[in-house]
Symmetry: C2
Subunit: 220 residues, 2 copies
């Protein structure tokens, strides 16, 4: 097994980090909630040290608020912040998409088509929410992957997590959903046609509409 297993195994710390990250993004904690560390310890069956290390990482990543001497809290949701996140997504993903279109090679085109196809298939089977989310994230990641900037990709990833925290709380809207799904296909077409201008505009619109959906997380 020489070549494989080059990435270290999962530690308790990395496992609980990944798990908590997902649970936070998927809204399994209520916004503003104060995390009872010993309760988490029970709930996930991990020790204090790996748990605290994970919480520290999540705070540095922006999915938790850390207050010295008084533990960790789930950040509140705020319209203003959602707007900020969506704005930043438009700016950064637009930038990344432009660069990706200019630099993406044939292999990228193939992967993009594949990712879009997998997503489309998942669109059609409304069960398997979880799987759809995975493929959706992967599609958007593939789209900007060859932009050439690791920092840009890192920021985009972070913003996606923040954005999804809102979006996943919002009620679904089948009509808008269909439109957004269609846009995925159009994005691929524009990318393959190397139409920078068109792709950027569409991406901008795509995020704007997603933002309006995500606003639904502030239901009265």
């Amino acid at each position: 097994m020489g070549i494989f297993e080059r990435k270290g195994g999962v530690t308790a710390s990395s496992w609980i980090y990944d798990t908590l990250r997902q649970d936070l993004v998927n809204g399994r904690f209520t916004a503003g909630e104060k995390l009872a560390i010993s309760a988490l310890k029970e709930r996930y069956g991990v020790g204090l040290s790996p748990l605290r290390e994970a919480l520290n990482r999540l705070a540095a990543y922006g999915l938790l608020i850390q207050e010295n001497q008084r533990g960790f809290r789930v950040p509140r949701l705020a319209r203003e912040e959602l707007g900020d996140i969506a704005d930043m997504r438009r700016e950064l993903e637009g930038m990344a998409l432009e660069r990706a279109i200019q630099r993406g090679d044939a292999e990228w085109e193939s992967e993009l088509l594949a990712a879009a196809h997998r997503l489309k298939r998942a669109d059609e089977s409304p069960e398997m929410e979880e799987e759809w989310e995975r493929l959706h994230l992967r599609f958007h990641r593939t789209l900007v992957a060859p932009c050439g900037s690791t920092w840009l990709l890192r920021f985009i990833e972070q913003l996606h997590d923040q954005f999804d925290r809102y979006r996943r709380l919002a009620p679904g809207n089948p009509e808008v959903r269909r439109l957004l799904d269609a846009q995925h296909g159009e994005l691929v077409e524009l990318a393959l046609a190397r139409n920078v201008q068109g792709a950027r505009e569409l991406m901008d619109d795509h995020i704007k509409r997603s933002y309006e959906v995500a606003l639904g997380s502030f239901a009265p």
Copy 2:
């Protein structure tokens, strides 16, 4: 006492985090080095738990590399990455500066003038490197502060730390230094004149030249 002290006191964890962050940015560790945790424990006189929590945070922040089961290492320096960081700084700080100029109020103008003045004074006394660095960071922070996006500010802060890790290793160049110092003053003028276009261009140039200085960290 009531109103003040609203932020929790410093914990061992937060102290060692701040300290390590500075030491990393200031190049007190050699790039690529593997951190011996127990050695750090001795060197800084802290316990394992707070130390590990700080290391986890720094890894999430991007100032350390964490590899499961084999600890933490200081990221290597790479020309390509410095280029990426500088590019991102140009993009994001340009964006932030534009917004700041559009949204900054009279109070901002005052603080900007003050920050620039303090920095200029520090320029003139070449001793006190540390103080200059502090004021320099603060000036750039003030410049973009009212941009209206917390995420943008957050990313910029992160990029500054990354950038400075390179710059502080590079040999100083008094001539370029004087030019860069002069640009600080010009940036203030353009900002106060609400000259978005001019300010963005100057900021772009400012970062480009700083980048060339920072390239000196790759001495033969």
